[in-house]
């Protein structure tokens, strides 16, 4: 390891933000908190983007690692202890003054503090806790804080940090325990899922989780420094790396579904794998990071959270991957033509939600509007329905928009002509057009080992 003494803040910031950038979560959403009239900061539930980086992603938080002097050896991570890269660690004071000064100038909504593992999980978690304590109690910072729970750290430390943070996350990293063992031998499902469960319980009870009153006196929160002494009020999230290991979409989405249902996560993030270490044992993906696959997973995730779909409806052992050319909802509809066409003037909300081209907002508006009039296709357009997608699947007062066939191949062909099936930002990032034959998903299905999750 190269550890330099007397590094400038600038050098540290560059190293430790560069090291943090593969964590995709940057939102400042999920909590509304007015200013307290004295300290600095407030929070707005939908979140605020302060700028957009060169890859087009929203920058909302000062996203940094506390340290990249990591003793672990996760092979997908550039900070793993076998890598010969520049190393640095912040002090709690340095993180505080960067956060405060950036926040005053309106560069950021708050802090996203993650970390490599310095000395030991407990040692690191304690440093993180001290940083948050200083920030909240000494600097009176009332803005957004997202903090990482360190796998394997003492639950008491995680709990204390949780009372100071708005969101907490612990990355699942890889969809299956096997892949985790292979790529991140120092981590295990247990060290990841135990704190995840603890945070979940903490959010529920919003009280001291351990019944351990011994440190209550030293709790910063009993000093009434924050108006709302809530435990992780914006909920918890996690992240999985996509494409480093052979799991199929069915496995990945099943894990996500388990996390939403059993762990009540607010968000699961998917991160297209970038082979930063040029590690020969890890795949080099020919088209660059699998951005389109990542996009399909986010779309499917959306279907789970807001459209009442379950994974088993979208995918199966026999059909374990999304059609990369179609969005998952169109893909589902094509395979379930027996549900269509849907009559706009009669269908219930949940049925409308499942029609390609009808989003949650349009479905609500349809229900509202048809109370007073019979809707026709012109009305649907005004309401915001994407007719070029929906027209194959709906009738208005018994009529279809054009004469079409309710036939899988026919509709599929027509839908594929619509280039918006592949989102603009991916089309324009120089995404290579691979032919249909290149996406023969030939990976053998892996046994799903989700013992703790499902």
């Amino acid at each position: 390891m190269q550890i330099q003494e007397n590094m400038s803040i600038m050098e540290k910031l560059q190293i430790l933000s560069d090291a943090a950038k593969y964590d995709v979560a940057c939102t400042s959403s999920g909590v509304d908190r007015k200013g307290d009239g004295k300290g600095m900061g407030n929070c707005i539930a939908p979140g605020i983007c302060h700028t957009f980086s060169g890859d087009g992603r929203c920058v909302s938080l000062l996203k940094i690692l506390f340290t990249n002097e990591c003793i672990f050896n996760c092979s997908y991570c550039q900070n793993n202890c076998n890598n010969d890269i520049p190393r640095a660690s912040f002090t709690p004071d340095e993180v505080c003054s960067l956060t405060m000064e950036f926040y005053r100038r309106n560069y950021i909504e708050g802090l996203f503090l993650s970390s490599g593992i310095l000395v030991s999980p407990n040692y690191t978690m304690d440093l993180i806790y001290q940083t948050l304590y200083k920030l909240r109690v000494e600097c009176h910072f009332n803005g957004y804080i997202h903090v990482k729970a360190i796998p394997g750290a003492d639950p008491a430390l995680i709990e204390r940090a949780g009372f100071l943070a708005d969101r907490m996350s612990i990355n699942l990293e890889l969809p299956t325990a096997n892949s985790l063992k292979e790529l991140a031998p120092c981590k295990s499902r247990r060290t990841i899922l135990t704190p995840m469960r603890q945070i979940q319980n903490g959010i529920h009870d919003n009280t001291l989780l351990l019944g351990d009153t011994s440190y209550k006196g030293s709790q910063p929160l009993s000093t009434k420094t924050r108006s709302s002494q809530k435990f992780v009020p914006a909920g918890q999230s996690t992240q999985m790396i996509i494409g480093a290991t052979p799991e199929n979409d069915y496995q990945i989405m099943s894990v996500a579904e388990g996390l939403y249902q059993k762990f009540e996560l607010k968000r699961v993030f998917y991160s297209a794998f970038v082979n930063v270490n040029e590690d020969a044992s890890l795949p080099v993906l020919p088209g660059g990071p699998p951005l389109l696959r990542e996009h399909r997973l986010y779309q499917a995730d959306w279907l789970l959270r807001f459209y009442n779909f379950s994974v088993n409806e979208l995918l199966s052992e026999d059909n374990p991957n999304f059609n990369i050319y179609l969005d998952p909802k169109c893909d589902w509809a094509l395979r379930h033509l027996e549900y269509f066409p849907v009559e706009i003037n009669r269908a219930d909300y949940n049925t409308l939600l499942r029609v390609p081209g009808i989003g949650a907002k349009s479905a609500r508006r349809i229900i509202q509007a048809r109370r007073t009039t019979r809707l026709d296709f012109a009305d649907l357009k005004k309401i915001g329905v994407v007719l070029k997608r929906a027209l194959y699947f709906i009738t208005c007062s018994g009529k279809m928009m054009y004469r079409t066939k309710l036939d899988e191949n026919y509709i599929c062909e027509n839908l594929l002509r619509d280039k918006t099936q592949i989102p603009k930002e991916i089309r324009e990032s120089g995404y290579k057009q691979i032919s249909l034959f290149d996406v023969g998903m030939t990976e053998p299905p892996q046994p799903v080992s989700l013992a703790m999750i499902t």
Partner: protein
């Protein structure tokens, strides 16, 4: 036709509504305009409206009471919009001598709302062209203001004041003022709307802020940075550079998400 000409401010337009109502000239015969007419029509009488805070307050109170605070906020946002509305969906009717503009649309919307059984639902009546127009304006203002809550940049001056310069299309200073005085109660700050030559001023420890004419702002003062200002700008720019994932680089998406007109006031985009 009687054309009431008023100031392009909330108080100006509210006063005009009060006067128009009070004139008993018949709603059909009235048109309210918040700017100088481009040419004077032959058969029109032009009536100048003197902004009157008392009348304005009466109108505001009535709207809040009958239409609710949410609708009131939406209407105020619409009035803060710069015309013409860039979305151009104002569905202008060529047969109208007087096209839809915000002050008159505001008047018509109120008339319509007061005729409704439940006026609090006025903003749902998007079939009405005046309501639709105000709705679009308010969305426009709202979007720009929300952008600026993120994209505004303060610089610390020698005297410790935080100073931000911005070029908004709409009059969004009041929205920014609410947000930043809640967020930074302990700071002296100033937000300068260079397009309108107006400055919003907030004093540390005081809940309110004021907006004042700043056409003679001291250029030297606003470029006189504190000792550490450039240091933090450099740190921020360094962070901004290193946070990009090279393998996902996508300048088009970046420009789509933070349009060029906002980039020019954001320090990380200055070369």
């Amino acid at each position: 036709m009687y054309v009431f000409i008023c100031e392009d401010t909330i108080d100006g337009i509210f006063t005009a509504v009060y006067n128009a109502w009070d004139s008993h000239l018949g709603h059909k015969n009235i048109y309210i305009l918040a700017k100088e007419p481009e040419n004077y029509e032959l058969f029109c009488e032009y009536i100048r409206v003197e902004t009157d805070l008392e009348k304005s307050k009466k109108v505001a109170d009535t709207i809040k009471r009958r239409l609710g605070v949410t609708v009131y906020t939406t209407l105020c946002e619409a009035i803060m919009a710069e015309e013409p509305c860039p979305k151009k969906t104002s569905r202008m009717n060529a047969a109208d001598t007087f096209s839809i503009t915000k002050a008159d649309a505001f008047y018509r919307t109120l008339l319509y709302a007061f005729s409704m059984e439940n006026p609090t639902r006025i903003m749902e009546c998007l079939g009405n062209p005046y309501v639709l127009y105000l709705f679009e304006l308010s969305r426009n203002v709202h979007t720009e203001a929300h952008h600026l809550l993120g994209f505004l940049r303060f610089q610390e001056l020698q005297n410790g004041i935080l100073f931000a310069e911005t070029h908004p299309k709409n009059y969004v200073l009041p929205i920014l003022g609410d947000h930043f005085s809640d967020r930074l109660p302990g700071e002296n700050f100033m937000i300068y709307d260079k397009n309108r030559k107006l400055a919003l001023i907030h004093r540390a420890g005081i809940k309110n802020f004021l907006i004042t004419d700043a056409s003679s702002i001291n250029q030297e003062m606003i470029h006189n940075y504190s000792a550490s200002e450039l240091e933090y700008q450099k740190l921020w720019c360094g962070f901004f550079e290193s946070i990009t994932i090279e393998a996902r680089k996508n300048p088009k998406l970046q420009n789509q998400n933070i349009p060029k007109r906002f980039q020019k006031d954001a320090v990380e985009f200055q070369k």
